[in-house]
Symmetry: C3
Subunit: 310 residues, 3 copies
């Protein structure tokens, strides 16, 4: 039987490193964090989080920082490589071996795949991956699960579609792996050029039922969860190709009328044009609510990893 202090000192690099039992434990802990957002807490007083962002990110960085502050801890770090020793040519391994002296836990975002894993290997303090390369974004996957759980009361038995760019977006890779621990039907809806990465597909196909398709329409009336991602123009060598497909992956209020009333629409944000503003006020819109669940999940991870929950 899993206990809170089994997480003490642990790195969070890939959602694949966690069993379903562990994921469920984190999600349950996250739910206990919700009241602490309002009340505040001294759980991590005296602890320091270092945020090493080698790539810009408002949402993820501020989410971790707010999580740390809500638990009474402090934050140091940088939000772009230009202001760091990296600009002087320091290796990531060296940066990490410096920063581990200043902080009790390190959160890292990096443009290169494998960077967070490398950092964790060198650091003597726990490392949390806040996105590295096109690979993994485990805390986003956890917050997605926590949002689904709140909206639906369960994850098992749901019909879930991932829509848009399934090839380059790291959040959908992590989410697909996370969902493959549950008994879900997964629909991967994308233009042919942006199909789910083959290796991810291969890994999850053995565990859950997966269908790849081009078009959302036939699916919509049966769907419980629609997870939308942005399609970036620069992914298409031919701009005409982009113009052809982009309309099919844009969600608006009218389209949602052919879906179930209790469908939830999610998005990792930032949202550009792929969800029309008229969706924002519908009960289906859950993409801003997700942000709050990011706090819960990150507070839970910080508290667990730092051994503050017994």
């Amino acid at each position: 039987m899993l206990k809170a202090n089994d997480f003490e000192g642990r790195d969070v690099i890939s959602i694949k490193d966690f069993t379903r039992e562990e994921i469920d434990f984190i999600l349950k802990t996250a739910s206990r964090m919700a009241p602490l957002v309002e009340k505040g807490s001294d759980l991590l007083r005296g602890k320091i989080l270092a945020t090493l962002f080698f790539e810009p990110s408002t949402r993820t960085r501020l989410s971790f920082e707010a999580s740390m502050h809500r638990l009474g801890g402090s934050v140091i770090g940088f939000s772009q490589p230009g202001v760091s020793s990296v600009a002087k040519g320091e290796s990531l391994a060296d940066t990490v071996r410096v920063v581990e002296n200043y902080a009790d836990v390190i959160v890292i975002r990096h443009p290169l795949e494998g960077a967070a894993r490398l950092a964790a290997e060198f650091a003597q303090v726990p490392v949390i991956n806040a996105g590295s390369g096109s690979e993994e974004h485990p805390t986003q996957a956890l917050l997605d699960l926590h949002t689904i759980l709140e909206a639906k009361g369960r994850i098992d038995g749901l019909k879930i579609a991932l829509l848009g760019d399934l090839r380059y977006g790291r959040t959908v890779h992590s989410l697909a792996y996370a969902l493959s621990n549950y008994d879900v039907e997964l629909f991967l809806v994308s233009p042919p050029q942006l199909r789910m990465k083959r290796e991810v597909l291969k890994d999850i196909k053995g565990k859950i039922q997966v269908v790849e398709m081009d078009d959302l329409t036939p699916l919509l009336q049966d769907l419980d969860v629609l997870y939308v991602t942005r399609i970036q123009k620069e992914r298409f060598p031919d701009p005409l190709e982009y113009e052809k497909v982009k309309g099919s992956y844009r969600i608006d209020k009218k389209l949602l009328e052919s879906g179930r009333e209790d469908l939830i629409v999610m998005h990792p944000l930032p949202r550009i044009t792929e969800i029309a503003p008229d969706v924002d006020e519908t009960p289906q819109a859950w993409y801003f609510k997700e942000v709050r669940h990011g706090l819960y999940v990150r507070m839970a991870l910080l508290a667990l990893i730092l051994g503050a929950i017994k």
Copy 2:
């Protein structure tokens, strides 16, 4: 009769949104904050301020951050848009709907007019405008008033001159509106190209006595307050025009000798060449003292808005 909790949850977007009674209440609360700068306080322990600076500003950003820390609270945020999701094309409304999940109050500075107002409409937490466009900078106006009050013991009955660029500088617009609540004589001294914005002039002329002029000299011996602003070369299509006027709007020690002994010289800072360094050591120099009043006023606003003063 106004009470502290009438301010709870309130946005601070424009000084025009506040009555004289409300302004006086804030100024009185600010005076109570002064001892807390030295002693520190736990009034806002557990609360988080988000500073969203889409335009650089040391003074204003650090002033808000120090105010929050002096009251025991925490701060998250960014100091330039390049490190935010905005660089990925996110709308301001979306950024605000994300950040309101992380923070109890948002301070925003933005190059576009109306940006702070828009943010306040979307945010469910209070928003403070730290300067948007050339329009408004309400906390600067409040700290200007608080400085005058400390120096003179009153605002009513004073002769006050605003000098320099009255057209583009947002601080003078907010200050003019703020002063129009009091019984003052206002002198607007600027080159013809940089006259006070017509709409501001129209608004305040009905309320107080206003005189526009080119030259400070005839006025100086009667003046209680001289508020200096910088004239930027790039405002002049013809550089020769700039060279012609700039000397007339530069204050030095010699010039001040023809003014009253108890004249106070103010400036929103940064000061470049428009006040000579030899003024710094005179008793008339109040522009650095103003900075301290910025702390008092911002501590008061944060405490009032977050309902920490009963």
Copy 3:
């Protein structure tokens, strides 16, 4: 007899401003800080540190910030001049006269020599120099001393070599001055183009025994401390010159085998190629351990200067 409160309110601009007795007092205080890194402390609760970094630096900035947080204090500041009023043309003296209103102590890094001294002259709160120009970096020198003391139990009587670029590197200048207070033999090993600055050499030669040389090899077997610095290609007008010398100033495991077993290798970091990665795991490698001593020394300085230790 020196007392803790003799340091209250004091600036830390140059290591030359401190006597041996004072340095020893700071080092002793630093040793008392070590347990507080783990336990945390409220020694500086309610105090604010401002970090004004006009030049990027991860290590030094984060070290000061972590030191402040470990003692319960708060931090404001900027990590690059582009986001500050300096971009608008504000003088350093004015910036300092603004920031002293927000903070109880200022840490400054600046590309120009003399900048920290100037800041200290204008500021009414204590100023710590975190590196200005090629001149001085006093807290680095103190942490170097503290590291040597921990590794060797003493500084007097040691044979110490400074290797690499002794002309432009500010850390070696401060360290040479610091060591000149002790009874050490100092070896300055560099290519002729990068010899120790003449003025530094002149100052320290009267106080301790100094030998300048090109080659480390004959020295190695007698050495207690080897302090390595980076040689930057751009210091050489002729790239061929650089290629010729660089190999002689690179340390690897094999080279260390001809040194003493208890030799310690130090480096101010960032390390690029001048120490081979195979040295990292040897017992001689002390360059990452130094980072921790930076915390101790900076915590001690902040606590002393702010009068928190009686």
